[in-house]
């Protein structure tokens, strides 16, 4: 059984159709890259999977581990193992990363009928996962993303992903705005979390990221549809030729 199956997905915002029939199947352990020009629906697709309600889904369905995703709330999807790495992580003044993560982990555990994670175990997990992305120890006691640099915000996304160990991670332009060192750190964090049990969707503009995180498939989302799917070499071809030739 596939992990995620998107069938003929149509979605619009304020009456304007953004997704015009997306089909995509993702199996466990796979890494899929979705590329394409700005404004062609990549982030919309990521948001709809995570459950943002600013879009109207007009047709189609998404099946995740055999469940209709549209029957689940945002937080239920997270507890079922879906993680969205935000393109623009949100600042939350006054809420510390530690408090944020502890609440998230314990509410996910509650959903699964588990007791809260003991504090010691939580602290140890924090220490361990901070190292994956080289997150400054001091940052963890600060408010979520408040005053973080672009690079720190993206590292924090991968840190949260490591803390929550999702089954399906969708990283929405995690590479944008990163210098080459930060890109390496973020990519090695993602690679460290790869396993036959988890799948990843990378949304990106640049094939540069794919030098560090090698995908199994590359898709091109163009004008609301996936117009081409290929091996990782497709990314190189896109880099060379642009998108217009796909029209």
């Amino acid at each position: 059984m596939s992990l995620l199956e998107i069938k003929n997905l149509h979605a619009s915002i304020n009456g304007k159709e953004i997704l015009k029939g997306v089909d995509l199947t993702i199996n466990k352990g796979e890494v899929h890259a979705i590329m394409g020009p700005n404004g062609n629906g990549k982030s919309t697709l990521a948001s709809i999977i995570a459950g943002r309600d600013t879009f109207d889904v007009t047709q189609g369905e998404i099946i995740y581990e055999g469940k209709n995703l549209f029957d689940l709330s945002v937080e239920q999807r997270a507890a079922e193992g879906i993680f969205l790495g935000f393109q623009y992580p949100v600042e939350i003044p006054g809420v510390s990363i530690a408090n944020f993560m502890k609440t998230a982990i314990n509410e996910q555990r509650k959903y699964k009928g588990l007791d809260p994670m003991p504090s010691m175990e939580f602290m140890k997990l924090m220490e361990k996962q901070k190292k994956i992305v080289d997150l400054d120890t001091k940052l963890a006691s600060r408010s979520v993303n408040e005053g973080f640099s672009g690079g720190e915000k993206k590292k924090n996304e991968i840190f949260q992903m490591a803390m929550l160990h999702p089954t399906l991670s969708i990283l929405d332009e995690t590479d944008s705005g990163l210098d080459i060192d930060a890109l390496r750190v973020v990519a090695s964090g993602v690679n460290a979390l790869r396993s036959p049990e988890v799948s990843t969707i990378l949304i990106t503009h640049y094939q540069r990221l794919l030098d560090y995180i090698v995908p199994d498939f590359v898709h091109v989302l163009f004008e609301g549809k996936i117009v081409r799917t290929g091996p990782r070499e497709l990314a190189l071809e896109l880099e060379e030729k642009g998108y217009e030739w796909l029209r």
Binding site: F83, V95, L164
Partner: protein, 386 residues
């Protein structure tokens, strides 16, 4: 005009069952019952430091020259049976003083509480003033407090208002700061049918600093009104006002912030902020900044916001598995506790955070009688966060 009788001096034993909700906090306690001061000479530390705590009547008689030094502030007449506190010069009191005005009525009563505090030169004081109703009967409290800070002194002042939904409280507070004085206030209106706070601060000496913080949390038909006024009368003074509120149901709040800068007060810095979260369409906030500046050499800023919880933050939190209810709680809690960031009494901050948390969970008002005194939560919450 109404059925409220003027309160008379109650019997002390009527209040024997009262216990303060800040029990874990070590303070020197001073008791007012229905606004009347009850003397207890049980504190050697205070006596050793020559701190005077007595009734205003007795201060007029026995400490005439000290009492008269604050003459231009006295809103009091000789038959007033209020509270007088004098901290002599060069006194540092590590343990906070706590004034507990306990209100217990058996018929609708009008209560008057009067307090005069003088903090001597180069002395440093922390003071917690609580108004608590301990039963659910009607009362109307008028509380007047005047505080004189002599030069180089400081005061950290916490005001907690927690009265039942049928009762009202009106506090009129006046602070006068001399040269190089520092005042920090934390005004917490946690529950009450009708709360009105008038706070006036006069910066009468150079380099005086006032940092005025307020939080109001109201729901149902509660009404809260804060009128804050700062007068910059001398050069080089700083003031900062930060008032925040959360309103639920059909609650109403008003904030009027006044900054006055005299022509004698160049190099003034004055900031004012009022921020509100409305949780329903029926809650109402009226916020009015009022700046009166007679000087060109000043830095002034003011701002007011009225809004809902940040929806992008809500989505971000929910996308991590945090329920909508908990996400709201976390955001509201963070919003509220910002005003405590400059408070220095750590144990008190912990307690206040706990009170704020319980208030947000609805535990403190889930039954009409329940005010903060109720030490066993009436409601149970299924949400737990640090």
């Amino acid at each position: 005009m109404d059925n409220f009788k003027k309160a008379i001096r109650p019997k002390e034993e009527d209040f024997a069952d009262f216990s303060c909700h800040l029990t874990q906090l070590k303070t020197f306690r001073i008791h007012q019952y229905n606004g009347f001061f009850f003397e207890r000479n049980d504190n050697d530390v205070l006596l050793d430091k020559n701190i005077i705590i007595c009734s205003i009547k007795s201060a007029m008689k026995n400490h005439k020259s000290i009492y008269n030094s604050a003459k231009n502030l006295q809103p009091l007449s000789s038959d007033d049976d209020g509270l007088f506190i004098y901290i002599p010069r060069n006194t540092i009191l590590d343990t906070p003083l706590q004034i507990l005005n306990v209100i217990k009525t058996f018929e609708p009563l009008k209560i008057e509480a009067k307090t005069l505090i003088i903090v001597g030169e180069n002395s440093h004081l922390k003071l917690i003033y609580c108004d608590d109703t301990v039963n659910d009967n009607l009362s109307k409290t008028e509380s007047k407090i005047s505080v004189v800070l002599e030069k180089d002194s400081s005061l950290e002042y916490y005001k907690m208002e927690n009265i039942n939904n049928l009762s009202s409280i009106f506090t009129d507070s006046n602070f006068v700061l001399d040269t190089n004085c520092e005042l920090k206030t934390f005004w917490l209106s946690i529950n009450g049918g009708d709360i009105k706070n008038k706070l006036s601060v006069a910066l009468d000496g150079q380099y005086a600093r006032a940092d005025l913080n307020g939080l109001y949390m109201v729901d149902r038909d509660q009404v809260v009104d804060n009128q804050v006024s700062v007068s910059h009368n001398q050069p080089n003074c700083h003031s900062n006002q930060l008032y925040k509120g959360i309103l639920d149901d059909s609650a109403k709040a008003q904030f009027k912030g006044h900054i006055y800068v005299s022509q004698n007060a160049p190099y003034t810095e004055a900031i004012q902020n009022n921020r509100n979260i409305l949780l329903t369409d029926k809650a109402v906030v009226n916020t009015q900044p009022f700046l009166e500046i007679y000087n060109d050499d000043v830095k002034c800023a003011h701002g007011a916001t009225i809004g809902q919880l940040d929806q992008s933050a809500m989505f971000y939190m929910r996308s991590r598995g945090i329920s909508e209810r908990s996400a709201k709680m976390l955001l509201m809690f963070a919003f509220c506790t910002e005003i405590l960031s400059k408070a220095s009494i750590e144990e008190l901050v912990d307690t206040l955070q706990d009170i704020i948390k319980r208030r947000l969970h609805g535990e403190l008002s889930s039954c009409e009688n329940c005010v903060l005194l109720c030490s066993t939560p009436c409601g149970t919450s299924d949400v737990d966060f640090i």
